[in-house]
Symmetry: C2
Subunit: 346 residues, 2 copies
């Protein structure tokens, strides 16, 4: 009964091929391919006939086959230090929004702040022939760098502005942002400004923020003090412990700059519990403008970072390289603006 040439046993899940469409429409596969991908290159009559058959039999083009054949894929790989960290979600959304419009797909994975894990994921993604790569981290193993170079795949780094970029960068300067906030605090008259951040091992963002803090202290003639600098884990508890420890070890502290929104909120809650007036007893500043910081009492001074824009610009540049072959973008660095938001906590 079926008009098409004999096909393999139709196991569940087997789907129609372009060949089947072609047979039923009485044309060659090339015509089907054209009708689908370059409709203008096919006569209207044939195009309609083909599209009708496509609908009838529910034909779904096989992207694996087309990517393999055309040597072009429509997937982009994204590697995040941690998937369950809210600060990344906006960037992912920005990426996703732009990518989707171009019919690209996002592959996502988590490397846990570990460059070796990142390397494995890069390898896996390159094996899947992603046509672009987005890395939050800016620290990579030499092998990872070599593999990326060899693959020729365009890359965007997102988390920081590294000294030696892999390729393109869309980010803000962690150093400058931390410098800006510390300067802001100094200008407000705070003299003993403490600093709490996540561990800086394998995390150049953390290191750069510390650098920015230090530089600001120096420029404002404030003495760095070991007791005022603390590295800790993620989490609200960590912020709480940080502020408690600092106040205990260095009672003269009058401001705490938390290089992370969760730390800042944790610190604020602890102050509230202990009855330390913010900002009178101790001022509090944060990094990253999550909604929460505007709604707590006192609202928390922070730095607004262009998280969503980073995602959008990243996607745009990557797609330009991939689709339009915009080679002039190779190696370009987009240093996006951050903004100090002064609120009640300072």
């Amino acid at each position: 009964m079926p008009k098409q040439t004999a096909s393999r046993k139709s196991r569940a899940g087997s789907s129609a091929r372009m060949r089947d469409v072609a047979n039923r429409a009485g044309v060659s596969t090339m015509t089907v391919s054209r009708a689908l991908n370059e409709p203008s290159k096919v006569s209207e009559a044939v195009r309609e006939r083909v599209l009708k058959v496509v609908k009838e039999i529910g034909y779904l083009p096989n992207h694996l086959a087309s990517s393999l054949s055309s040597n072009r894929s429509t997937t982009i790989g994204l590697i995040l230090p941690s998937i369950d960290n809210s600060i990344f979600t906006q960037t992912v959304k920005g990426l996703s929004d732009v990518i989707r419009q171009s019919g690209f797909q996002l592959m996502i994975a988590e490397c846990g702040y570990d460059p070796n894990e990142e390397e494995e994921l890069i390898t896996a993604f390159l094996g899947h022939r992603v046509s672009g790569l987005v890395l939050h981290s800016t620290e990579h193993t030499p092998q990872a760098i070599a593999k990326i170079r060899k693959s020729g795949v365009p890359v965007v780094e997102n988390g920081n502005i590294p000294a030696e970029p892999l390729d393109m960068v869309v980010s803000y300067s962690n150093r400058n942002a931390a410098y800006a906030m510390t300067s802001h605090l100094a200008r407000l008259g705070y003299k003993n400004i403490a600093y709490a951040s996540l561990y800086s091992v394998h995390n150049d963002r953390s290191r750069d923020r510390l650098d920015g803090y230090m530089q600001a202290l120096e420029e404002f003639g404030l003495e760095p003090d070991q007791r005022l600098t603390i590295e800790t884990n993620r989490g609200l508890n960590a912020g709480a412990e940080a502020v408690a420890r600092i106040v205990q070890n260095a009672p003269e502290v009058d401001a705490l700059f938390c290089a992370g929104d969760v730390l800042a909120v944790g610190a604020l809650f602890e102050c509230q519990k202990r009855g330390w007036a913010v900002p009178e007893r101790i001022a509090l500043a944060s990094f990253d403008d999550v909604d929460l910081l505007r709604h707590v009492s006192p609202s928390v001074t922070t730095i607004r970072l262009p998280r969503h824009e980073i995602g959008e610009r990243t996607a745009q540049m990557l797609l330009s390289r991939i689709i339009d072959g915009a080679e002039h973008l190779r190696g370009s660095i987009v240093d996006l603006k951050y903004e100090v938001i002064q609120r009640e906590s300072t």
Copy 2:
């Protein structure tokens, strides 16, 4: 100079093929394939020689080609209502953790609570020949359902326990959870229990939670009251406005159950600002146990949902189906436990 047979012009990004490895190692591609995928089926000497060449020339197997040829892919598609919603990140992490260990990759996309958008994404994913699909939503267009059925791809639904599952389900019952919390409040003696949730259009989770709330009211002999039920947007502000409106319209309210953690936090902050004692003036309960709820003052009574476990179990079942062909799992429903966490706010 090169021993291998003439290969095409080596444009940037061209990578070695299995053929190149085979030539250099003096074996056939099948042997290379075996050495890589079924090492035990190859003699030790040959295996070592092949692997040596693989390293030397930095050969990276082409997953597109292998998937096409073997008719097996190693990607799983995940469709979320919204990417920047923190409640999903734990599930994604659970999924990701398990999937990674099996060498599978995650494709992720956002459908914005819109079944039509979801259908498009499903189509795109099936085009990419994902070997499994994870859907948070449990409402799908008939076409989406048809396409999934036709494809034969195993699916897990995550966000609710639907009356007519597509295939497998790993979730908790929104209805039962909301019922449990409302009952809990009733048992604590609250008589005028209000309820705030996100809009329930295209969101059966919201609808089911409302059902659960209503059923509890009925069983405890409490009169449902229009003024005590409110639907709103996402966000802290929405929670703030919700509690304000309810207290204004129905001053006799003595408890508010927010079917969402962000709403609850927003409501709490508003109460603090207005000087409404929690739980004395109004008790507050939430849905979803985010860290924050434990750290605010008063800490907030809520329902702990197995978000991470949902991701893990989902991945495990999907992989069983895909890898082991565990057909007995088809259509199975895993109804995971939730837990009412009593805290200071009630």
